[in-house]
Amino acid sequence: MNNRLKVLRAERNWSQADLAAALGVSRQTVNALETGRYDPSLPLAFKIARVFEQPIESIFSDSGA
Protein backbone atom coordinates (compact mmCIF):
# COMPACT_ATOMS: atom_id res chain seq x y z
CA MET A 1 0.00 0.00 0.00
CA ASN A 2 1.25 3.50 -0.87
CA ASN A 3 0.65 6.61 1.21
CA ARG A 4 1.27 10.36 1.15
CA LEU A 5 2.13 10.69 4.84
CA LYS A 6 5.58 12.14 4.32
CA VAL A 7 4.32 14.77 1.87
CA LEU A 8 1.37 15.74 4.07
CA ARG A 9 3.62 15.98 7.11
CA ALA A 10 6.17 18.09 5.25
CA GLU A 11 3.46 20.43 4.01
CA ARG A 12 2.56 21.15 7.63
CA ASN A 13 6.21 21.37 8.74
CA TRP A 14 5.61 18.70 11.37
CA SER A 15 8.34 16.43 12.67
CA GLN A 16 7.84 12.68 12.87
CA ALA A 17 7.67 13.09 16.65
CA ASP A 18 4.87 15.67 16.28
CA LEU A 19 2.84 13.35 14.09
CA ALA A 20 3.56 10.39 16.37
CA ALA A 21 2.27 12.37 19.37
CA ALA A 22 -0.89 13.36 17.48
CA LEU A 23 -1.54 9.75 16.50
CA GLY A 24 -0.57 8.21 19.84
CA VAL A 25 2.08 5.96 18.30
CA SER A 26 5.88 5.82 18.41
CA ARG A 27 8.15 7.78 16.07
CA GLN A 28 9.41 4.45 14.71
CA THR A 29 5.86 3.62 13.67
CA VAL A 30 5.51 6.91 11.79
CA ASN A 31 8.84 6.22 10.10
CA ALA A 32 7.76 2.68 9.15
CA LEU A 33 4.46 4.02 7.77
CA GLU A 34 6.24 6.66 5.66
CA THR A 35 8.75 4.18 4.27
CA GLY A 36 6.07 1.62 3.43
CA ARG A 37 7.38 -0.95 5.92
CA TYR A 38 4.13 -1.04 7.85
CA ASP A 39 0.49 -0.78 6.81
CA PRO A 40 -1.70 0.75 9.52
CA SER A 41 -4.77 -0.88 11.03
CA LEU A 42 -8.12 0.55 9.97
CA PRO A 43 -8.55 2.50 13.25
CA LEU A 44 -5.09 4.06 12.84
CA ALA A 45 -5.79 4.89 9.19
CA PHE A 46 -8.98 6.71 10.25
CA LYS A 47 -7.01 8.56 12.92
CA ILE A 48 -4.43 9.63 10.33
CA ALA A 49 -7.23 10.86 8.09
CA ARG A 50 -8.70 12.89 10.95
CA VAL A 51 -5.32 14.43 11.86
CA PHE A 52 -4.72 15.53 8.25
CA GLU A 53 -8.41 16.38 7.74
CA GLN A 54 -8.54 14.40 4.52
CA PRO A 55 -10.42 11.29 3.39
CA ILE A 56 -8.55 8.02 3.77
CA GLU A 57 -8.49 7.36 0.03
CA SER A 58 -6.62 10.62 -0.59
CA ILE A 59 -3.86 9.51 1.80
CA PHE A 60 -3.64 5.79 1.09
CA SER A 61 -3.78 3.98 -2.23
CA ASP A 62 -3.54 0.33 -3.19
CA SER A 63 -0.17 -0.24 -4.85
CA GLY A 64 -1.79 -2.93 -7.01
CA ALA A 65 -4.46 -0.55 -8.36
Binding site: S15, A17, V25, S26, R27, T29, R37, L44
Partner: protein
Protein backbone atom coordinates in the same frame (compact mmCIF):
# COMPACT_ATOMS: atom_id res chain seq x y z
CA UNK B 1 -1.70 21.93 18.60
CA UNK B 2 1.47 20.74 16.92
CA UNK B 3 4.78 22.32 17.70
CA UNK B 4 5.92 22.69 14.08
CA UNK B 5 9.45 22.02 15.24
CA UNK B 6 11.62 19.66 13.23
CA UNK B 7 13.68 16.99 15.01
CA UNK B 8 16.99 18.66 15.68
CA UNK B 9 19.76 16.41 14.32
CA UNK B 10 22.70 15.59 16.56
CA UNK B 11 25.85 17.64 16.03
CA UNK B 12 28.91 15.94 14.51
CA UNK B 13 30.66 16.02 17.90
CA UNK B 14 27.67 14.37 19.55
CA UNK B 15 27.55 11.68 16.84
CA UNK B 16 31.28 10.99 17.21
CA UNK B 17 30.96 10.95 20.99
CA UNK B 18 28.03 8.53 20.86
CA UNK B 19 29.93 6.27 18.44
CA UNK B 20 32.94 6.24 20.77
CA UNK B 21 30.76 5.39 23.77
CA UNK B 22 28.96 2.59 21.89
CA UNK B 23 32.29 1.23 20.63
CA UNK B 24 33.51 1.32 24.23
CA UNK B 25 30.50 -0.69 25.38
CA UNK B 26 31.17 -3.18 22.58
CA UNK B 27 34.85 -3.45 23.49
CA UNK B 28 33.98 -3.92 27.17
CA UNK B 29 31.53 -6.69 26.30
CA UNK B 30 34.07 -8.37 24.01
CA UNK B 31 36.74 -8.19 26.72
CA UNK B 32 34.30 -9.54 29.29
CA UNK B 33 33.40 -12.47 27.09
CA UNK B 34 37.05 -13.24 26.39
CA UNK B 35 37.72 -13.29 30.14
CA UNK B 36 34.80 -15.61 30.76
CA UNK B 37 35.75 -17.96 27.94
CA UNK B 38 39.46 -18.18 28.69
CA UNK B 39 38.62 -21.28 30.71
CA UNK B 40 38.50 -23.62 27.73
CA UNK B 41 36.93 -26.36 29.83
CA UNK B 42 33.56 -24.58 29.94
CA UNK B 43 30.78 -26.74 28.45
CA UNK B 44 29.17 -25.37 25.28
CA UNK B 45 25.76 -24.73 26.91
CA UNK B 46 27.45 -22.41 29.42
CA UNK B 47 29.41 -20.66 26.66
CA UNK B 48 26.19 -20.20 24.67
CA UNK B 49 24.31 -18.92 27.74
CA UNK B 50 27.09 -16.43 28.53
CA UNK B 51 27.16 -15.26 24.92
CA UNK B 52 23.38 -14.71 25.01
CA UNK B 53 23.58 -12.96 28.38
CA UNK B 54 26.34 -10.63 27.21
CA UNK B 55 24.44 -9.91 23.99
CA UNK B 56 21.24 -9.09 25.91
CA UNK B 57 23.05 -6.88 28.43
CA UNK B 58 25.00 -5.12 25.65
CA UNK B 59 21.76 -4.46 23.71
CA UNK B 60 20.19 -3.13 26.91
CA UNK B 61 23.13 -0.83 27.69
CA UNK B 62 23.42 0.46 24.12
CA UNK B 63 19.66 1.05 23.96
CA UNK B 64 19.91 3.01 27.21
CA UNK B 65 22.72 5.19 25.82
CA UNK B 66 20.77 5.88 22.62
CA UNK B 67 17.52 6.49 24.53
CA UNK B 68 18.95 9.00 26.96
CA UNK B 69 21.13 10.88 24.47
CA UNK B 70 18.65 11.40 21.64
CA UNK B 71 16.82 14.73 21.18
CA UNK B 72 14.29 15.44 23.92
CA UNK B 73 11.62 16.14 21.28
CA UNK B 74 11.43 12.39 20.67
CA UNK B 75 9.25 10.63 23.29
CA UNK B 76 10.97 7.84 25.20
CA UNK B 77 7.92 5.62 24.68
CA UNK B 78 8.44 2.02 25.77
CA UNK B 79 12.23 2.32 25.68
CA UNK B 80 12.78 2.07 29.44
CA UNK B 81 10.65 -1.07 29.70
CA UNK B 82 12.44 -2.66 26.74
CA UNK B 83 15.81 -1.92 28.35
CA UNK B 84 14.64 -3.42 31.67
CA UNK B 85 13.49 -6.59 29.90
CA UNK B 86 16.84 -7.00 28.09
CA UNK B 87 18.94 -6.40 31.21
CA UNK B 88 16.87 -8.70 33.42
CA UNK B 89 17.03 -11.47 30.81
CA UNK B 90 20.82 -11.16 30.66
CA UNK B 91 21.25 -11.19 34.44
CA UNK B 92 18.92 -14.20 34.84
CA UNK B 93 21.01 -16.17 32.35
CA UNK B 94 24.23 -15.41 34.24
CA UNK B 95 22.99 -16.14 37.77
CA UNK B 96 22.73 -19.98 37.61
CA UNK B 97 26.34 -20.19 36.40
CA UNK B 98 28.15 -17.61 38.52
CA UNK B 99 26.05 -16.78 41.60
CA UNK B 100 26.41 -20.23 43.32
CA UNK B 101 30.11 -19.47 43.84
CA UNK B 102 29.10 -16.90 46.44
CA UNK B 103 25.47 -17.63 47.36
CA UNK B 104 23.58 -20.80 48.28
CA UNK B 105 21.80 -22.35 45.25
CA UNK B 106 18.33 -22.14 46.84
CA UNK B 107 18.84 -18.43 47.50
CA UNK B 108 20.01 -17.97 43.91
CA UNK B 109 16.90 -19.77 42.65
CA UNK B 110 14.69 -17.57 44.82
CA UNK B 111 16.36 -14.51 43.34
CA UNK B 112 15.82 -15.84 39.82
CA UNK B 113 12.11 -16.39 40.54
CA UNK B 114 11.85 -12.83 41.84
CA UNK B 115 13.64 -11.41 38.78
CA UNK B 116 11.49 -13.52 36.46
CA UNK B 117 8.33 -12.19 38.12
CA UNK B 118 9.65 -8.64 37.71
CA UNK B 119 10.47 -9.26 34.07
CA UNK B 120 7.05 -10.77 33.46
CA UNK B 121 5.40 -7.64 34.87
CA UNK B 122 7.67 -5.50 32.68
CA UNK B 123 6.75 -7.60 29.62
CA UNK B 124 3.02 -7.27 30.32
CA UNK B 125 3.40 -3.50 30.82
CA UNK B 126 5.39 -3.33 27.57
CA UNK B 127 2.63 -5.12 25.66
CA UNK B 128 -0.07 -2.87 27.14
CA UNK B 129 1.82 0.37 26.45
CA UNK B 130 3.13 -0.59 23.01
CA UNK B 131 1.52 0.83 19.90
CA UNK B 132 0.10 -1.44 17.21
CA UNK B 133 3.32 -1.79 15.22
CA UNK B 134 5.44 -2.74 18.24
CA UNK B 135 2.80 -5.30 19.23
CA UNK B 136 2.94 -6.71 15.71
CA UNK B 137 6.73 -6.95 15.92
CA UNK B 138 6.43 -8.80 19.25
CA UNK B 139 3.79 -11.15 17.82
CA UNK B 140 5.89 -11.82 14.69
CA UNK B 141 8.96 -12.50 16.85
CA UNK B 142 7.00 -15.05 18.87
CA UNK B 143 5.61 -16.69 15.73
CA UNK B 144 9.00 -16.94 13.99
CA UNK B 145 10.68 -18.28 17.13
CA UNK B 146 7.87 -20.78 17.79
CA UNK B 147 7.92 -22.30 14.31
CA UNK B 148 11.72 -22.43 14.14
CA UNK B 149 12.03 -23.99 17.60
CA UNK B 150 9.21 -26.50 17.31
CA UNK B 151 10.58 -27.68 13.96
CA UNK B 152 14.08 -28.02 15.35
CA UNK B 153 12.82 -29.68 18.54
CA UNK B 154 10.79 -32.23 16.60
CA UNK B 155 13.76 -33.16 14.41
CA UNK B 156 16.07 -33.36 17.42
CA UNK B 157 13.56 -35.40 19.45
CA UNK B 158 13.09 -37.83 16.56
CA UNK B 159 16.85 -38.21 16.13
CA UNK B 160 17.30 -38.70 19.89
CA UNK B 161 14.53 -41.36 19.99
CA UNK B 162 16.27 -43.16 17.14
CA UNK B 163 19.52 -43.11 19.08
CA UNK B 164 21.25 -40.98 16.48
CA UNK B 165 22.21 -38.08 18.80
CA UNK B 166 23.06 -37.65 22.48
CA UNK B 167 20.64 -36.07 24.93
CA UNK B 168 21.23 -32.44 25.78
CA UNK B 169 20.32 -30.62 28.98
CA UNK B 170 17.43 -28.26 29.60
CA UNK B 171 20.04 -25.54 30.19
CA UNK B 172 21.44 -26.10 26.71
CA UNK B 173 17.93 -25.99 25.22
CA UNK B 174 17.30 -22.70 27.06
CA UNK B 175 20.45 -21.19 25.54
CA UNK B 176 19.38 -22.29 22.05
CA UNK B 177 15.87 -20.90 22.65
CA UNK B 178 17.28 -17.52 23.67
CA UNK B 179 19.55 -17.42 20.62
CA UNK B 180 16.70 -18.23 18.24
CA UNK B 181 14.39 -15.72 19.96
CA UNK B 182 17.03 -12.99 19.72
CA UNK B 183 17.54 -13.71 16.01
CA UNK B 184 13.78 -13.75 15.42
CA UNK B 185 13.50 -10.41 17.22
CA UNK B 186 16.22 -8.91 15.01
CA UNK B 187 14.53 -10.18 11.85
CA UNK B 188 11.05 -8.96 12.86
CA UNK B 189 12.40 -5.54 13.92
CA UNK B 190 14.52 -5.07 10.80
CA UNK B 191 11.49 -5.74 8.59
CA UNK B 192 9.86 -2.64 10.12
CA UNK B 193 13.00 -0.55 9.96
CA UNK B 194 13.62 -0.70 13.71
CA UNK B 195 17.35 -0.93 14.35
Amino acid sequence: MMSEIQDRPRSLAAKVGLTVVLAGVGAFCGYGMAQLFKDHGAPWPDVLAVAMAVALIAIGLMSAIVLFTRPSTIPKGCGVLQIAVFLLAGVMLLLPMYAPAAIAPDVVFGGIVLLLATQTVANVMLWRRADEMLRQVMAETSAIAFWALQTALFLYAAAERLGMVDSISAWALMGILMAVYLLASIVASARRGIT
